[in-house]
């Protein structure tokens, strides 16, 4: 289904859409307060953008440096060209260790590769340990937001879900009670797990280490109990030096949730004694993006979700209306770049307001890329239908001043004299909830002409 249809469905439950909008606006406002508290905020954004741009300009070198240093720390490094290869690699590691139960902290990459169903089909139980992710996992649906995966679910619905799956009291919806129940449930999962998977927020080329940011400490617990830790990362997650973290960590949590820093910022440099640590580096279309001068800046993304929280469309239509692992403004670039047939409507799910560009901590010119993506889709012959015909017609009319004047006169005359039911017909999308402008008798150019004539008789 296309975004407009799913958006309309979401909005048809108006109170819920308004509630969703308010929840995310609250996060956006928290972000504003945090950003305003940092006097050098705009400089930090510039630094972050420059560091990322530099890194991307010599990504192969930094990836090799990372691999070298990680191996020296005793990390097993794997390379995957796409999601299938990634899933195969993870599965083979798990198989070798005879893993039956797996705990996973939040990783959008494994969502992108659809790792969970792949492993479950092969008899491995996967438990997402981030609270929001666990909720959507129990409800058997994908996350709707990359940082706040269950933001679309109300606490009463969480209560019902936990009652069904975790045996909490029927009708209970107190967040503290439900969180406590989830903690107990997850604690058992951590203790029973044979292996832990995490994502990666930043990998450091000069050390071979990486950093995982969470608020719940679930990544730490998930990899500290079992003897096997697999970290999965997209190849764009690299920063050159440790000290670059000083820039990105200050930006990430402030942009994401309006916190000065995530509760846990865990650094991993090699395996613990007697344990194994694997890193899987995944391309999955990223090199193609890197080769595109128009869109490569999208690789700077640090997945903070700020563009989603600020996007007036996302807030009112929910993440699921994008049908893409990464939704919102950044997802509306990444998804149609990779699969233009599947995600044609996404770059148009945007009023080009530009708010995303101004919140982005790494200064991706998101709304300009969305604008450019529309043109790319046309060049790829993915757009068509009545809109294209209308625009072709409009363009031919507007090329000739006389034609434009005639069309304007006809339009004004029709608006003035046609009966209302003909104007507000079912095909008139504008008029469903809005009035059309009341057409004046004369155009500006006529009035201007008259005025000039009177002034200089």
């Amino acid at each position: 289904m296309s975004h407009p249809l799913l958006a309309e469905q979401f909005i048809s439950r108006r109170d819920r859409a308004a509630w969703h909008d308010r929840s995310l606006w609250f996060v956006r406002e928290k972000r504003d307060r945090q950003a305003n508290d940092v006097p050098e905020w705009e400089e930090l954004r510039k630094f972050a953008s420059d560091i990322k741009q530099h890194t991307m300009s010599r990504l192969p070198n930094y990836l090799e440096e990372f691999e070298r240093n990680a191996k020296a720390l005793g990390v097993h490094v794997h390379w995957a060209v796409d999601g299938d290869e990634h899933n195969g690699i993870v599965h083979s590691i798990l198989e070798r260790h005879g893993v039956k139960r797996l705990v996973k902290s939040k990783s959008m990459l494994t969502e992108e590769c659809h790792l969970n169903p792949f492993l479950e089909d092969r008899g491995i139980t996967v438990i997402d340990t981030d609270l929001g992710e666990r909720i959507v996992q129990l409800r058997n649906e994908p996350p709707s937001h990359i940082v706040l995966p269950a933001i679309h679910i109300r606490k009463e619905e969480v209560g019902a879900c936990f009652h069904e799956h975790l045996g909490t009291e029927q009708g209970a919806s107190d967040p503290k009670y439900l969180t406590e129940a989830a903690r107990h449930h997850l604690r058992e999962q951590f203790l029973a797990a044979d292996a832990g998977i995490t994502g990666v927020n930043f990998a450091i080329a000069e050390t071979g280490g990486f950093v995982v940011c969470t608020n719940e400490g679930n990544a730490d617990l998930g990899v500290s109990l079992p003897k096997l830790h697999i970290a999965c990362m997209g190849i764009e997650k690299l920063v050159p030096r440790s000290k670059d973290l000083g820039v990105f960590l200050r930006l990430l949590a402030r942009s994401a949730t309006g916190q000065p820093i995530t509760t846990y910022t865990s650094h991993f440099h090699g395996p613990r004694d007697g344990c194994e640590l694997h890193v899987v580096l995944v391309d999955n279309g990223r090199s193609q993006l890197l080769q595109s001068p128009e869109f490569r800046r999208s690789l700077n993304c640090i997945r903070c979700g700020a563009c989603m929280n600020t996007c007036p469309v996302f807030r009112r239509t929910g993440g699921h209306s994008y049908e893409s692992t990464v939704p919102g403004p950044i997802g509306s670039i990444l998804a149609p770049f990779r699969d233009p047939d599947q995600h044609t409507s996404l770059p148009f799910a945007c009023s080009l307001c530009g708010s995303c560009t101004d919140v982005c901590p790494v200064k991706i010119d998101l709304h300009h890329q969305l604008f450019a993506m529309r043109s790319r889709l046309d060049h790829q012959q993915k757009l068509g239908g009545t809109k294209k015909l209308t625009m072709q017609l409009a363009s031919s009319v507007l090329r000739h001043t006389w034609f434009y004047r005639l069309a304007g006169r006809v339009a004004r005359y029709s608006l003035r004299w046609l009966p209302r039911f003909l104007i507000y017909n079912p095909l008139n999308g504008w008029g469903r909830q809005r009035e059309l402008p009341s057409a004046p008798e004369q155009s500006f150019r006529r009035m201007y002409e008259d005025r000039q004539r009177k002034e200089r008789p």
Binding site: P4, C353, F371, D378, Q392, P440
Partner: protein, 262 residues
């Protein structure tokens, strides 16, 4: 100074009073102007829909029509942003003629403040005014500070309007959220577009806005469409109309009479 009026096509056809108000404001500040009659549309509807090739001839026409003027002034941030920021696919960067026309294209408040250096308007407008920050003026042309950004910027329109006698401003809960117009977005994403518009209007209602003003008639066309359908007590005016009315109210009596008898 040789100033050309660039009146966006939909303003020409549906909001001629906004164009005329622009003329009055410019004349009030002694600007000589002309209206190149060959102009039609900047091509934004096509470009925003992805049809770059359909926009190209209109961009070329725009440059042809407005070549040779000192300034090209438009009562629209959005169309100006199109010309200044989105014409690159159509013209070589070393095309001096196109570059000059693009650079000289200015939004009305920008022209008043940055070119004419106007810091005060003699006029009276005793109403509570709610300013809608049109996104392209705000985040493309940077005509005022955006709430996301920590970079300090001047607020051109407010700086002009706040010098009017009797004016007061409403305090919005979301000072610069998009109204949901977005060109063809208003129709292709009708549901979310209208919800955004309603949310903006409700913000102005809670702030007791009497007059809702903006630099872009397109945003106001969308908002007014909802206001009229729901019969809400807010009047919509482009800021050029607002300034023209404010100036009118303090024009000396003899001049006003002369004008009326013309």
């Amino acid at each position: 100074m040789n100033v050309a009026l660039f009146i966006p096509c939909y303003v020409d056809q549906f909001y001629p009073q906004v164009g005329m108000a622009t003329v009055e404001v410019l004349e009030h500040f002694g600007v000589k102007h002309s209206f190149p009659v060959e102009q039609t549309c900047c091509g934004q509807p096509m470009a925003n829909s992805g049809y770059t090739e359909q926009a190209r001839p209109l961009a070329e026409k725009y440059v042809d029509v407005f070549d040779g003027y000192d300034y090209i002034v438009a009562p629209s941030g959005s169309c100006v942003a199109m010309v200044r920021h989105h014409y690159s696919p159509f013209f070589d960067s070393n095309n001096a003629r196109a570059s000059t026309v693009r650079e000289r294209t200015m939004e009305l408040s920008e022209f008043l403040v940055n070119v004419l250096n106007i810091s005060c308007i003699h006029g009276r407008f005793a109403h509570k005014v709610g300013i809608h920050q049109s996104c392209h003026g705000l985040r493309e042309l940077r005509l005022s500070p955006s709430s996301e950004s920590c970079t300090e910027r001047a607020d051109l329109l407010t700086s002009l309007l706040e010098t009017l006698d009797g004016i007061s401003f409403s305090t919005l809960q979301r000072p610069d959220e998009c109204c949901g117009f977005g060109g063809t977005f208003a129709v292709t994403e009708e549901a979310v577009s209208c919800m955004m518009g309603e949310d903006r209007i409700h913000d102005h209602l809670q702030a007791e806005t009497e007059i809702l003003t903006a630099g872009d008639m397109s945003c106001l066309m969308h908002l007014e469409g909802i206001i009229r359908r729901q019969q809400l007590p807010i009047r919509v005016m482009h800021f050029a109309e607002l300034i023209a009315e404010a100036i009118q109210s303090v024009v000396p009596v003899e001049t006003a009479n002369k004008r009326n008898h013309r």
